[in-house]
């Protein structure tokens, strides 16, 4: 594939690996933010190519993993109502709520549709005037513009049967929560390329400055990740803490102004509970007052108790970089993709799923 194979070039990969080995003199712990980056690292076997004194820990950038159990219960509650069509991105379906997952709710008869774009949900609302269509709007800043746009479209079409159940989360507050944790181990971050394509880099300068932590905006392909790691290690070895951009083919310092404007038009920033981590102040988007009739939480009486998380799952420690998936006593035993204790084992961006599928412990010559 053109524009992808170039970033999977074995010769370039080898050059970067050699250079990283050459310049690394001390042990460093780097966290990649995004679950897509985690999967690329593990799936391509990059972790075993790095010097042993570079430890990659895997961040909270898996939207499925951080969506709180109560929000999943809310989605299931809505899906179970007879007149509601609940639309969702595919990989939310397997994540366990407090009792069942959306996939099980679907099997029991709930009308749940897997869509690729929230704009398709608006179409569905138009085609089904007698049904209420709710889009389960999860994700980081990356998916927020399209979800916001669906509300703008529905408003323009004067649809009164469309709403969204928003559970958006924001990267910079999560980075601060991790860096300010007393047990923090992170020396540098690889920031999520897609998030920065939308939001730009401005938000990261104060974080790098405050915590003396290099932040390299990084892409997702092997060459991207290795270049990002190299740039971060170069800074660490020199004692620098700058915000740098590896993903220059997509990310501009100011980001995508149109997308940001759409987000601001529909959403407001508020507190958000992250699964496994807890409440992080000012770390999520909720539908604002102007568009409140499109907020499923206000539109429907969602009458369910707040659910407690499964304490056996250590996803919080994993997403804060304090532990690796294989350090969980339940990894691959009590917790498997077919019966997960927590979300990272079933999400296609979850770090536990990455290790389970691509790098289980009992495989010779695999990390």
């Amino acid at each position: 594939m053109k524009y992808l194979n170039e970033y999977r070039d074995p010769a370039l990969v080898e050059d970067f690996i050699k250079e990283i080995h050459r310049i690394t003199t001390k042990p460093w712990t780097l966290m990649e933010i995004c679950g897509g980056q985690t999967h690329s690292l593990v799936k391509n076997g990059i972790l075993e190519m790095l010097p042993t004194n570079i430890t990659m820990v895997h961040g909270p950038g898996c939207p499925v993993c951080v969506t709180s159990i109560s929000v999943i219960d809310e989605a299931i509650f809505l899906a179970e109502q007879p007149n509601i069509i609940l639309c969702s991105f595919g990989d939310m379906l397997r994540v366990p709520g407090s009792k069942i997952s959306l996939l099980e709710a679907k099997a029991k008869g709930a009308d749940i549709r897997i869509l690729y774009s929230p704009l398709e949900a608006v179409q569905l609302a138009k085609q089904n005037p007698n049904k209420q269509v709710v889009f389960f709007a999860v994700g980081f800043e990356t998916t927020a513009p399209a979800n916001a746009l669906s509300v703008v479209h529905a408003d323009r079409l004067k649809l009164n049967n469309y709403s969204i159940l928003a559970s958006h989360v924001l990267v910079p507050p999560a980075m601060e929560a991790i860096l300010s944790d007393k047990d923090n181990l992170i020396d540098a971050f690889l920031a999520a390329g897609h998030v920065c394509t939308i939001m730009g880099m401005e938000e990261y300068y104060p974080v790098a400055e405050k915590y003396h932590c290099p932040i390299v905006v990084t892409g997702f392909e092997p060459v991207d990740l290795l270049q990002g790691i190299l740039m971060a290690v170069q800074q660490l070895e020199k004692g620098e803490y700058k915000v740098e951009n590896q993903y220059i083919r997509y990310v501009q310092r100011e980001g995508n102004a149109v997308a940001q404007k759409t987000i601001q038009q529909v959403f407001e920033v508020g507190d958000r509970i992250w699964r496994g981590i807890g409440n992080i102040p000012q770390s999520g988007y909720e539908v604002n007052d102007r568009y409140k009739e499109f907020n499923a939480r206000l539109k429907f009486q969602i009458n369910i108790p707040l659910a407690a998380e499964n304490t056996a799952c250590i996803s919080g420690d994993i997403m804060k970089g304090l532990k690796k998936p294989k350090q969980c006593p339940h990894f691959g035993t009590k917790c498997k993709p077919e019966h997960p204790l927590g979300a990272p084992m079933v999400s296609s961006e979850g770090s536990c799923a990455a290790y389970y599928h691509y790098a289980q412990a009992d495989v010779e010559s695999i990390i």
């Binding site: 999977r8 990969v13 593990v42 076997g45 190519m49 991105f89 397997r94 897997i114 869509l115 296609s348």
Partner: protein, 351 residues
């Protein structure tokens, strides 16, 4: 939806009393009789079927392979085929993978009330065409109609029998360390052709399903290479990864793949990339995996590549003594990863 690849009707549709299938067509009464007589029996005509008995009486001598499969695909018409040719080719290929020469098939329909007669006819024509190409006779069958909402348009079951080729010795127990793993063509085409039409995921492509009978190709290979072909399997649902995991588990040998050797159509690869799907787990229909003795791997590959369905065939890996019971793949950049079973269905990811 691309229409150009739908089967062109070659047989004029007989005049039926109804435009749609009704419950009466499955009652066993007059409507069933008329549907069978002017529809099914006429088009699928052969000596055994013509006897219109409760079952087929056929003569076969020797070691026999027997297989069955049900087809519940949605959408029923897709680029490159429909549920009809799929139902014939699927069972033909399952028999072929046993080293058998498929000969007789049964054919059973479960049809939802209200299904269009025109679509039913189109499917029947495809069944006839696929059976003719594969050289098999449909000798017995059944038609049931269920109430609207109790089925999804049409389901088909086919079972088939065939005599095992005297030179074939296909069993996972014959797989040895050093054997080469060969795939007969581009992977993941069928699954992505279907995916491109699914509600919510429609995207424009020219991807067509690979559904085809493997019979003549495989029989020729068996004639030439005989028992040096240690194992064969068509990686349908669950894709290449699932078949390799099954045989790794059964043989307790290691299966080592090279990502860069996997043949895949560029559009299919791009569609998988876009939807976040791994082509190793995507379904195939007219594709097979062969595990063959190292010494014949090259001539086997050349023979396969000279066949119209095997032009993209490739050696994708080998059987090893380490990582017993596991499938390991060398990534395109030289790292290693495990390839495990798929849990549930592959679902498109968020971003």
């Amino acid at each position: 939806m691309p229409q150009n690849s739908r089967v062109q009707l070659q047989c004029p549709m007989p005049k039926f009393d109804f435009d749609v299938i009704t419950l009466g067509h499955g009652s066993g009464g007059l409507l069933t009789h008329r549907l069978l007589k002017s529809g099914v029996f006429d088009i699928l005509k052969n000596d055994v079927l013509d006897q219109q008995h409760d079952g087929a009486v056929v003569e076969m001598h020797g070691k026999m392979a027997f297989s069955t499969d049900s087809y519940v695909i949605s959408p029923i018409f897709f680029p490159g085929g429909n549920i009809g040719d799929l139902a014939v080719n699927g069972t033909v290929n399952d028999l072929t993978m046993c080293g058998a020469i498929p000969q007789y098939l049964s054919l059973a329909f479960i049809i939802e009330e209200g299904f269009e007669m025109k679509a039913f006819w189109e499917i029947l024509v495809s069944i006839k065409n696929a059976a003719t190409i594969a050289g098999v006779s449909i000798v017995t069958g059944d038609t049931k109609v269920v109430e609207k909402g109790k089925g999804d348009k049409i389901y088909i079951n086919t079972s088939g029998v065939g005599l095992v080729h005297p030179k074939a010795l296909i069993h996972h127990n014959n797989i040895e360390v050093g054997d080469q793993i060969i795939v007969s063509g581009n992977i993941a085409s069928h699954g992505m052709a279907i995916m491109s039409l699914r509600e919510g995921l429609e995207f424009e492509t020219n991807i067509i399903s690979d559904t085809v009978s493997l019979k003549s190709t495989v029989i020729k290979l068996i004639e030439t290479f005989g028992s040096d072909i240690h194992f064969m399997r068509d990686p349908t649902r669950g894709g290449v990864a699932s078949v390799l995991n099954e045989i790794a588990e059964l043989t307790q040998l290691g299966f080592y793949l090279e990502h860069k050797s996997l043949p895949i159509d560029e559009q299919v690869d791009a569609a998988c990339e876009m939807l976040g799907l791994d082509p190793l787990y995507v379904a195939n229909e007219g594709l097979f995996l062969a595990v063959v003795k190292k010494e014949i791997a090259q001539p086997f590959l050349t023979a396969l590549q000279n066949d119209p369905i095997g032009k993209n065939a490739a050696i994708i890996g080998e059987v090893t003594n380490d990582n017993k019971g596991k499938v390991i793949m060398k990534s395109s950049i030289g790292g290693k990863r495990m390839v495990t079973y798929l849990t549930g269905e592959q679902l498109p990811r968020i971003c």
